[in-house]
């Protein structure tokens, strides 16, 4: 299995532990990753808000590079998945637009024919790699660990852009957690928004949303939360102390990246997985399984 690895901006910036744990996990699982160091930001929907054509052209360049290398793209961020997935679909469905974009790419010697698939790491693990194969790699089952899967939003909706599973009844993350020997926890917030995208625009509202998600997981007796998205992670973990104080909440809930959670079950050392870079320490929560 070989993928063009789209890190996204945040995994190389404020969430370095995500990138490191992903690389470590891929190695253990035998997934070959070619890091797309020349691929630009997915636009995050933010460039799209101002200039959709600019965002789609930048992403078309990324697709063209992956296509030239003969690989599908794997990403480690829900917002990257959403934006790359959406733009890929729009390009495939609009030949006139694809044409226009390719004329711009031509000057770089690039061309996109629409043949690249874009997948999030969670999907790759559950579907391409497969639950059964993953189970075989689990050397350290996380027995007894109650994990609240935080699917969030952009990996599920809108369905026309994501299409991996039913947004009203997603199961992939729950299956993954079961495969690791842990116990998935159901809670109202698992597919509701963390507020990251308005963190700089309206911090009060954003942190209210984040705290709600954390409290919902706590009230469902989760030991930890896990998320496939570094933006959600930043909102829920890196900003947790600030958000909790702002909203007068005493919640304290460790939040892991998917790569870290799976990595632990596959026997990778917590140091290599950079668990120490998490703002809210998972040590106590994981003490039962490590």
């Amino acid at each position: 299995m070989k993928y063009a690895y789209f890190t996204g901006c945040v995994a190389k910036g404020t969430c370095p532990e995500l990138h490191h744990s992903t690389v470590a996990l891929a190695k253990v699982l035998g997934i070959e990753l070619w890091e797309m160091t020349d691929a630009s930001c997915c636009g995050a929907g933010v460039i799209h808000d101002e200039n959709p054509e600019l965002q789609i052209t930048l992403n078309a360049r990324t697709f063209a590079m992956a296509e030239a290398a003969g690989m599908d793209i794997v990403n480690i961020c829900s917002t990257c998945q959403q934006n790359l997935g959406h733009d890929n679909r729009v390009l495939r469905e609009n030949p006139a637009l694809l044409d226009r974009v390719n004329r711009v790419l031509a000057d770089s010697g690039l061309h996109y024919s629409g043949n690249v698939q874009v997948k999030n790491l969670l999907w790759v693990l559950v579907s391409d790699y497969g639950i059964e194969r993953l189970k075989e790699k689990v050397v350290h089952p996380l027995t007894g660990l109650r994990v609240a899967p935080y699917y969030g939003c952009q990996l599920l909706r809108p369905v026309e852009d994501t299409g991996f599973e039913d947004p009203d009844n997603p199961t992939s993350f729950d299956e993954l957690i079961l495969a690791l020997g842990a116990t998935p926890v159901d809670y109202p917030g698992k597919t509701r928004c963390c507020g990251f995208h308005i963190l700089t625009v309206n911090e009060n509202t954003s942190t209210k949303m984040a705290v709600k998600r954390l409290e919902e997981a706590r009230d469902a007796a989760a030991d930890i939360m896990a998320t496939p998205c570094p933006l959600c992670h930043t909102s829920l973990d890196a900003y947790q102390p600030r958000a909790a104080r702002m909203q007068g909440s005493g919640v304290r809930m460790p939040v892991l990246h998917v790569s870290q959670l799976v990595g632990l079950a596959c026997g990778i050392d917590p140091g290599v997985l950079k668990l120490g870079q998490l703002m809210v320490s998972p040590q106590a929560a994981l003490s039962g399984v490590l």
């Binding site: 711009v104 909706r157 009203d168 625009v201 309206n202 954003s206």
Partner: protein, 336 residues
């Protein structure tokens, strides 16, 4: 087909607080959840109260939260809710609005947000055609707001919206889609004023949760919101944090192809805004100690010049088109 309905009941005067009650049903295979509610009301307990009228998803009355997601119960088959191995159907009233009784909620805030966007045509009075003719509007011009016309003001998206859930000021997807309908109407003369008003009301507070994209009438409010933002920037309404964030973010990508997070936060706070920077200092320090505070300009793509070139080429292409026919933006979604 058997099913169990677990319904949130609350009869003021009788109940101290909302609570759930169970009903066992055995209805025909194609029965909808509304059929189930009607059955309970007609045969078991006529105090069960809920709003309903057309029963074919055009009046917008019957939105409720079903198994955690807001739906129109008249077009939700019981069978589809039981498909995923569920044994019961939990029905609760719309979120973000106070229950008056059972599944009936106080929608006054919802209707107020609707009124706040001034949802009526505001033409240039001098340009109104005479009594025996219409404005000439081409099918292409109508296409821009065609999806907005589908909105039945059912509040499904309002109830599921993550921002509405916590922020009573946020107008919500229905009001914003309605605003979009008028912004895109070629006969309306108040585009810039509307866009300014929408910025003031909070069009930049949408967090891209995309719950509204599950709209039962395919209104796709999130796309409308994105377009309103784009148009507001185009109209020069950029002195607000939302537009600044968008512009600074884009500029950052334009420099190195990757986001310079630290610099973005510093710029948005305001480089000279000492109070603001001090306020952010504790968070910044925490991030720094965890190795999560990258230096400004820490990352770029291998060939930033290629990114610069794309920025230039796209902008040049758009300027050329604008000179030709005034409006050529790639909009998102299938043909919106």
């Amino acid at each position: 087909m058997k099913s169990t309905f677990v319904i949130q009941r609350y009869v003021p005067g009788k109940d101290a607080a909302p609570h759930f009650e169970r009903y066992e049903l055995d209805l025909w295979d194609e029965a909808t959840i509304l059929d189930g509610l009607n059955y309970i009301k007609d045969n078991e307990d006529d105090s069960l109260s809920y709003r309903r009228a057309c029963r074919h998803a055009i009046c917008g009355s019957c939105a409720m939260v079903v198994n955690g997601y807001t739906k129109l119960v008249c077009t939700t088959p019981i069978a589809s809710e039981l498909k995923s191995g569920r044994s019961e159907i939990r029905i609760a009233p719309l979120r973000a609005m106070k229950p008056i009784k059972d599944l009936v909620v106080d929608m006054s805030a919802f209707w107020q947000h609707f009124r706040d966007v001034e949802p009526w045509l505001q033409p240039d009075e001098a340009a109104v055609p005479g009594p025996n003719e219409e404005y000439r509007v081409t099918p292409e011009q109508i296409a821009a707001s065609r999806k907005d016309l589908n909105c039945i003001l059912c509040a499904v998206c309002f109830s599921d919206c993550g921002v509405v859930e916590v922020d009573p000021h946020f107008p919500g997807p229905p009001a914003l889609a309605k605003a979009h309908r008028y912004v895109m109407d070629p006969r309306d003369d108040k585009r810039k004023e509307r866009l300014q008003r929408l910025v003031d009301l909070g069009v930049w507070d949408c967090a891209h949760a995309y719950n509204c994209m599950e709209c039962p009438k395919h209104v796709d409010p999130a796309h409308a919101i994105a377009e309103l933002r784009r148009l507001s920037i185009e109209a020069g309404i950029t002195g607000n944090i939302g537009a600044k964030h968008s512009q600074q973010f884009t500029k950052s990508i334009g420099r190195g192809g990757r986001l310079d997070e630290t610099r973005l936060v510093l710029e948005l706070t305001g480089i000279t805004n000492v109070a603001g920077q001090i306020r952010n200092a504790p968070q910044g320090t925490r991030m720094l100690l965890k190795g999560k505070l990258p230096l400004p300009m820490h990352q770029k793509v291998d060939n930033p010049k290629e990114v610069h070139r794309i920025f230039k080429a796209v902008n040049a292409g758009q300027q050329a088109d604008n000179q030709k026919d005034g409006n050529v933006q790639v909009t998102s979604g299938s043909g919106r």
